[in-house]
C-alpha cells in the first residue's frame, strides 16, 4: 500500500486512531461516561449523597436531639428557632427529620440487599437450571405474589413482633418475589449466549458459570432494579410505620412522624408536610438515579 500523503488521508487516519482509542474503553467506563452526562440521574445521585452525609452528621446538623421536648412551644409553625416547626410535644421537627435519615436510608438499603441475595439466588438457579427447578421456584414465587406485599409485611410483623430487625425481615421477605423475577429475567437473556455453552464445553462447573459468566453479564439489569427497589423499601418502611406496625414512637422514622402528625393535620399541617416531603424527595432521588443507570447501562439507548 502507498504511504499516507494527502491531507484528507492524514485527517482520516487520525480520526481512525481517535476512534480506536474510544473503543478501547471498557464497557463499564463507557456507561459511567453516559451516566455523568445524564443531568437528572446526577441530580438524583447528589440528593442521595446529601442524605447520606446528613445521616452521618446528624448530631452536628440537628440543633436539638430528637427527643428533646419544649412544652412552651408545641405545634409551632416554621420559625428561625425551629425551621420545620415543632410537634405536639414540642420536639423540633427538623431535628427529627434529620435523624430520620438514619433509619429510612440504611433500612431501605439493607432490606434491598437481603431481598436481592435471597431472590437473586433463587432467580439465578431458576434461570440457569430451568425445567423442574424453574417450575418449582416460580410456582412458589407465584403463591407469595398472590399475597399483597404490604399484607405479607403486616402478617410477618404480627408474628415476629415490633422492632427494627423484625421490620427489616418483613420488608425483605416482601421484596423477594420481585427480585427473583427480575434476576431470572436478566439471567435468562444472558444464558442463551454461546459463551455459556462454550464455557461448559471446557469443563467449567455450574456454580462457576453462574458466578463468573452469568451474573457479571446480567448485573446491569439487576442493579437497575435494585436501585428502584430501594425506593420501594423506603416507602414500605414509612407506610408500615404510618399504620403503626413499623418503628414505634419516639423513633424519628419519617413514617412514624407522619403518623403522629396525622391527628393534628388540620391545625398544624407542617407536622405532616415536612416528613412527607423527606420521603418524597428520597424516593424520587432513588428513582431518578435508577432510571439514569438504566439509560447508561442499556447499550441500545446509546
Amino acid at each position: 500500500m502507498s504511504k499516507i500523503t494527502t491531507p484528507a488521508m492524514v485527517k482520516l487516519s487520525k480520526k481512525i486512531e481517535k476512534n480506536a482509542n474510544v473503543t478501547s474503553n471498557t464497557p463499564g467506563r463507557e456507561a459511567l461516561k453516559r451516566l455523568r452526562k445524564n443531568k437528572t440521574a446526577m441530580a438524583g445521585l447528589i440528593i442521595i449523597l446529601i442524605m447520606f452525609i446528613v445521616a452521618i452528621l446528624a448530631p452536628v446538623i440537628a440543633p436539638y436531639t430528637y427527643t428533646e421536648q419544649d412544652y412552651t412551644a408545641t405545634m409551632q409553625g416554621p420559625s428561625a428557632a425551629h425551621i420545620f416547626g415543632t410537634d405536639n410535644l414540642g420536639r423540633d421537627l427538623f431535628s427529627r427529620c434529620v435523624y430520620g435519615t438514619r433509619y429510612s436510608l440504611p433500612i431501605g438499603i439493607i432490606c434491598t440487599v437481603i431481598g436481592l441475595l435471597c431472590g437473586g439466588a433463587l432467580g439465578l438457579c431458576a434461570a440457569y437450571f430451568g425445567g423442574k427447578v424453574d417450575m418449582v421456584i416460580m410456582r412458589i414465587i407465584d403463591v407469595i405474589q398472590a399475597i399483597p406485599s404490604i399484607l405479607l409485611c403486616i402478617a410477618l410483623v404480627a408474628i415476629l413482633g415490633n422492632g427494627m430487625w423484625q421490620l427489616i425481615v418483613a420488608i425483605a421477605a416482601g421484596s423477594i418475589e420481585g427480585m427473583t423475577k427480575n434476576v431470572r429475567a436478566a439471567v435468562f437473556m444472558v444464558r442463551s449466549n454461546e459463551y455459556v455453552n462454550s464455557s461448559k464445553s471446557i469443563g467449567v462447573s455450574d456454580a462457576n458459570i453462574m458466578v463468573r459468566h452469568l451474573l457479571p453479564n446480567a448485573v446491569g439489569m439487576i442493579v437497575i432494579n435494585a436501585v428502584g427497589a430501594v425506593s420501594g423499601a423506603i416507602l414500605s418502611i414509612s407506610s408500615l410505620s404510618y399504620i403503626g406496625v413499623g418503628l414505634v414512637a419516639p423513633t424519628p422514622e419519617w413514617g412514624a412522624i407522619l403518623s403522629e402528625g396525622k391527628t393534628y393535620m388540620s391545625v398544624a399541617p407542617h407536622m405532616v408536610l415536612f416528613p412527607g416531603l423527606m420521603i418524597a424527595i428520597t424516593v424520587v432521588a432513588f428513582n431518578l438515579f435508577g432510571n439514569g443507570l438504566r439509560d447508561a447501562l442499556d447499550p441500545r439507548l446509546k
Partner: protein, 358 residues
C-alpha cells in the same frame, strides 16, 4: 482402513430424538463413525441435518429434556460416555430412577473432567462464544486452571503463551473481546480449545461467520496446530471447499443419517450417493459459462415425519420403485468408502452375482 489403528473416538448406532410438544424430532438416526488419533474428519450436511446434535452428544451437552439419546454408544479412548441404564418411565418409576440418577451424576462429573482436557468444542460464532466482561487472556487461563493443578500466575503465563501460539501478541492479554476483530476472536476461541492440548477438538462451523480471507487464515492455523499437537479434529461444515482444504476423511449427513463417507478421493472423485453427487453438481464451475446454478430440487424432509424408506428418495434424480420400499443400509463399496443407497447396493449385488455365475 481405520480398523487396524486404535480409534480415538468410536460412535456406534447413535440415535438422538428431541421430544417436543409438536412431536418427536428424529435428529440423528443410527449414525456410526470413528476418528483416529490426529485425523481430521469433515462432517458435511445441510442445516438441520443433525451435525450439531452429533457434536453435542459427544460433548455431553445435549439439552435434556427435550433431547433423548435413544440408543448407541460413544467411546472416547475406549471409555463409554453414554448411560447404560434405561431412562425411568415417568416421575414415579422409582425402581429405575435411583440408579439412573446416580449414573447420570457420575457421567456428568466425568464429562466435566474431560471437557477441555480431552475433548473441547469450538462454536460457530466467535462473536458470541467469548464472554464480553472478561479479559480474553483470563478466558484462556480459566480452562488451564480447571484442568491443570498449577498456580494462577503460571496459568496466566501459559494463557499468554497460547495467545502467541495463535498469533496474537501477549500484550493484548488484558483486553476485552469487543476490542478484537472477528478473526482474532476465532483465534482466541482456538487458543481456548487447544490450551490443555485435548486429543479431540469438535469444531462446529468454525469459519462460517468469517470472510473468505480470514477463513483461510483460521483454517491454516488450525491445520498447523493440529500437526504440531497431533490433535484429532471433527470439523462440522457445509462447505466442501473447507473439507478439501484440510480434512483427511469426510462424512456426509442427510436428515440425521450418514449417507456416504470415505477419504477425500472417495467423496470428491468417486462419490456414489445421489445426494453427494447432487451437491457437487450444484457447485459453480469456473470453466463453464452457465447462467444458473443447478440446485438439488426440493427440501429436506421434516425430521418429525421421516419416511419409512430412503429419506432422499423424494428429491433423488435416479429414484426408482425399489427406493420407496425400504430403508437403505450402509454398505462398504470399497475399503473405507461407505454408501447408503439402495441402487448402489443392488448394483453391487448384481455384480457379485454375475461374478459367482462366472
Amino acid at each position: 482402513m481405520s480398523t487396524e489403528k486404535k480409534n480415538l473416538l468410536e460412535v456406534r448406532n447413535l440415535t438422538v430424538h428431541y421430544e417436543t410438544d409438536e412431536g418427536i424430532v428424529e435428529a440423528v438416526n443410527n449414525v456410526s463413525f470413528d476418528i483416529a488419533p490426529g485425523e481430521i474428519l469433515g462432517v458435511v450436511g445441510e442445516t438441520g441435518a443433525g451435525k450439531t446434535t452429533i457434536a453435542l452428544s459427544i460433548m455431553g451437552l445435549l439439552p435434556k429434556p427435550p433431547a433423548h439419546v435413544i440408543s448407541g454408544s460413544i467411546k472416547l479412548d475406549g471409555e463409554e460416555f453414554l448411560p447404560s441404564l434405561p431412562e425411568p418411565e415417568g416421575p414415579f418409576d422409582f425402581a429405575k430412577k435411583g440408579p439412573w440418577k446416580a449414573e447420570q451424576k457420575k457421567l456428568e462429573l466425568r464429562f466435566r473432567e474431560i471437557r477441555g482436557k480431552k475433548v473441547s468444542m469450538m462454536f460457530q460464532d466467535p462473536m458470541t462464544a467469548l464472554n464480553p466482561v472478561l479479559y480474553v487472556g483470563d478466558q484462556i487461563a480459566e480452562v488451564i486452571k480447571i484442568h491443570e493443578n498449577i498456580s494462577a500466575a503460571e496459568a496466566e503465563k501459559r494463557a499468554g503463551d497460547m495467545l502467541e501460539v495463535v498469533g496474537i501478541p501477549r500484550e493484548r492479554y488484558k483486553e476485552y473481546p469487543h476490542q478484537f476483530s472477528g478473526g482474532m476472536k476465532q483465534r482466541v476461541v482456538i487458543a481456548i480449545a487447544l490450551a490443555c492440548h485435548p486429543d479431540l477438538i469438535i469444531a462446529d462451523e468454525p469459519t462460517t461467520a468469517l470472510d473468505v480471507t480470514i477463513q483461510a487464515q483460521v483454517l491454516q492455523l488450525l491445520r498447523n496446530l493440529q500437526k504440531e499437537y497431533g490433535t484429532a479434529i471433527m470439523l462440522i461444515t457445509h462447505d466442501f471447499g473447507v473439507v478439501a482444504e484440510i480434512c483427511d476423511r469426510c462424512m456426509v449427513i442427510y436428515a440425521g443419517e450418514k449417507v456416504e463417507s470415505g477419504n477425500l478421493e472417495h467423496i470428491f472423485d468417486k462419490n456414489m450417493h445421489p445426494y453427494t453427487r447432487g451437491m457437487f453438481e450444484s457447485l459453480p464451475n469456473l470453466e463453464e459459462d452457465t447462467d444458473r446454478l443447478k440446485p438439488i430440487k426440493g427440501l429436506m424432509p421434516n425430521p418429525m415425519d421421516l419416511p419409512s424408506y430412503c429419506s432422499f428418495a423424494e428429491r433423488c434424480d435416479v429414484c426408482e420403485e425399489i427406493c420407496k420400499s425400504r430403508n437403505p443400509e450402509l454398505i462398504e463399496v470399497e475399503p473405507g468408502h461407505e454408501v447408503a443407497c439402495i441402487l448402489v447396493t443392488e448394483k453391487l449385488a448384481a455384480q457379485n452375482n454375475a461374478k459367482e455365475v462366472k
